[in-house]
């Protein structure tokens, strides 16, 4: 797993890539939690994620819950097929805000 952040004037974009499994999900969770403390809008680009498991999804759910509490925007963007499949199985595809592009995730 690789995690990059790009800070724009109005928001933070997290770009995840590779395989998000139990080995890496603790660092994903830590990074997202720290980011949520800044209370800025966040979009997570998942287009390059080849694999994600329930522990990775759990990190995203926790960030989503924190954003809701803070009243800030948290959206998933350009999700890859493996991510879409897990979100479907977990019935979370209608919980998250999911946009086709990072721009739409932050704009809409």
């Amino acid at each position: 797993m690789k995690l990059e952040t790009r800070v724009t004037e109005t928001a933070t974009v997290v770009i995840l890539s590779g395989e998000v499994d139990l080995r890496h999900s603790p660092s994903l969770r830590k990074a997202l939690m720290e980011l949520m403390l800044e209370k800025r809008p966040v979009a997570v680009d998942l287009s390059k994620v080849e694999y994600i498991d329930s522990s990775g999804i759990a990190g995203l759910v926790e960030a989503y819950q924190m954003a809701r509490k803070n009243g800030t925007r948290f959206a998933l963007a350009a999700i890859s097929d493996p991510v879409r499949r897990v979100l479907q199985l977990a019935r979370l595809d209608r919980v998250f805000t999911i946009a086709d592009t990072v721009e739409a995730a932050l704009g809409g």
Partner: protein
């Protein structure tokens, strides 16, 4: 001749009250006792005639139940509130009418019909703790004149004690009736037990057991050997409980025994039972039933199911429910006009379990297990015992836990052939991994490669990889809890199914604690088990072969698309 007692000596009337109470206590004939009591009262107060009216519990009418005097009015029925007796009951206090001609409530029609001339009336209510039973009415003071206030107080006391005695008599009668009913119920229960098959010889391929939750059962089972070596079997459950249910159960079981000799197969038997049940309607009652024929020589069972709990086939540690699409029997003739479909089940060395919903509704201990999971766990718990003892132990474990809400009937059919043809199965992959997150990528690669090699399509392979990954995570996090340990991963192909077994050597996992979370609950964690169950056809914990650790088995039919 004895004259009426001095009016001041009311204590001396106690003897009469005591006598009457004694009469009631010793008599089983309420009518006779009422009549005797009324005669004693009329004599003591000094009345020419007397009547005792009781309120009819159904209509509220006042009915004359005892009578003394020149005319017989027993059975006379008055509408509520009619006459002096009606007024006495309504007001709840004695009514003294010195001159009937001056009382507008006096019902002169009765005198006109009987020829008796009523001059004065004394009437007192019979009531106990506010419950109105009726009234005692006296007519015409002997020797002329009217009844006195003292007579009124005496009658009031006598009427009250009569009421108490009557209530007691009724309670005793109710108790006797209940005792009688209880005896009948016990008898019915005995007859019913005698009708069910007894314990089968241990080498019988079919065993059954029934445990009624109360005296009589609405459940039944049948095991009938046929001349050609096959065995007919059935498990049924009648809607409702108690006597009606048990009568319908008796009828259905008799029909099965009778029709099994006549009809060609279980589908035809169930359709015929449906028609027969509807010949005589029992509104609102129906029967769910699973019936079949088992051939011990081939290990093949032919099953027909009408609205019944799906029987479970347990083969190589995997449960397969045998679903039926037909409704219960006894609802409408048309429903089975097209017959009842049959399923052919190859036991293939496995066992077929039939049961009533008492099994799935009973809660084994405090586990918050899902219903079908509970039944499966129960079956696996006792799988190692011989069939006859196994069923007994299973049922007893439910009864001991106090979870028995409904009758339980359980049946097992086993393929006892020495060498059942083994299913086309082969191990495709087996390897031991350290239980560490760093190993997960390698495990995923192995599962992905093996699944594709055996013909799984792209999407199935991806899903199965996720299921195995989640199962391994559970072992790492919940079984070993971060401690060192190994995971043995094995993939087999059995017929058209991919069978994945994951074995660990950690302390046994409490299955109830790793149930999937409710789907409407959005929270991190708890997702893994849900994903496994969503992806795989079956996810079951099996008894580990070494007796330690945990063995998780996941099965999915191979989808090449």
């Amino acid at each position: 001749m004895p004259s009426p007692l001095p009016e001041t000596d009311s204590a001396s009337h106690l003897d009469l009250i005591v006598e009457m109470t004694g009469d009631f206590a010793h008599s089983h004939d309420v009518e006779a006792t009422l009549r005797l009591g009324l005669e004693r009262i009329a004599q003591r107060v000094g009345a020419e005639a007397a009547s005792l009216f009781l309120i009819d519990e159904d209509s509220g009418d006042l009915v004359c139940r005892a009578n003394m005097g020149p005319v017989d009015v027993i059975g006379l029925r008055l509408a509520p509130g009619t006459g002096i007796v009606g007024r006495t009951i309504d007001l709840g206090v004695p009514q003294l009418v010195r001159d009937t001609r001056r009382d507008p409530d006096f019902a002169g029609a009765i005198d006109a019909a009987t020829g008796f001339e009523t001059l004065s009336i004394l009437c007192a209510p019979m009531a106990v703790r506010g419950a109105r039973l009726g009234a005692i009415e006296l007519f015409n003071k002997k020797g002329g004149g009217a009844f006195s206030q003292t007579d009124s107080r005496l009658l009031q006391a006598l009427a009250a004690s009569s009421a108490l005695a009557l209530i007691n008599t009724r309670l005793v009668a109710d108790m006797a009736e209940q005792q009688g009913l209880k005896r009948e119920l016990e008898l019915a229960s005995e007859i019913q037990r005698a009708m069910l098959p007894g314990p089968q010889p241990e080498d019988s391929p079919i065993h059954g057991i029934n445990l009624p939750a109360r005296g009589v059962s609405g459940d039944f089972f049948e095991i009938i050997p046929l001349p050609d070596g096959r065995l007919a079997f059935a498990v049924g459950d009648v809607s409702g409980k108690g006597m009606n249910a048990s009568l319908l159960m008796t009828k259905t079981a008799s029909l099965f025994r009778c029709l099994v000799k006549r009809e060609a197969g279980p589908g035809a038997i169930l359709a015929a039972i449906n028609s027969e049940l509807l010949e005589t309607r029992m509104p609102g009652m129906f029967v769910t039933m699973a019936a079949g024929l088992f051939d011990p020589a081939s290990g093949r069972a032919v099953l027909a199911i009408a609205g019944h709990e799906p029987p479970l086939l347990l083969k190589d540690g995997v449960f397969t429910p045998i679903e039926g699409e037909m409704p219960p029997l006894g609802i409408a003739v048309e429903l089975f006009a097209g017959g009842c479909p049959e399923s052919v089940v190859e036991l293939d060395g496995g066992s077929l379990y039939l049961f009533t919903d008492g099994l799935t509704e009973a809660r084994p201990r405090q586990d918050a297990m899902l219903e079908s999971e509970g039944a499966r766990a129960l079956i696996l718990n006792f799988a190692a015992m011989p069939a006859g003892k196994r069923l007994e132990a299973m049922v007893r474990s439910l009864d001991d836990s106090g979870g028995l809400l409904d009758d339980i009937t359980l049946m097992v059919i086993e393929d006892r052939r020495d060498h059942p043809p083994s299913s086309e199965g082969r191990t495709l992959f087996e390897r031991r991994y350290p239980a560490r997150p760093e190993e997960l990528a390698a495990i995923r690669a192995a599962v992905s490669g093996t699944a594709r090699a055996m013909g799984c399509g792209e999407s199935m392979a991806g899903d199965v990889v996720l299921a195995v990954d989640e199962a391994c995570q559970n072992i790492i996090r919940h079984a070993y809890r971060g401690a060192e340990g190994d995971i043995v991963l094995r993939l087999d192909r059995e017929d058209d199914r991919l069978v994945i077994r994951l074995m660990d050597f950690a302390p046994a996992v409490d299955v109830a604690k790793i149930q999937p979370r409710p789907l409407d609950e959005v929270r991190p964690g708890g997702l893994g088990t849900h994903l496994m169950r969503s992806i795989m056809d079956h996810v079951d914990f099996l008894p580990p072969p070494a007796g330690i650790g945990n063995l998780l088995q996941m099965v999915k039919r191979i989808d090449p698309t």
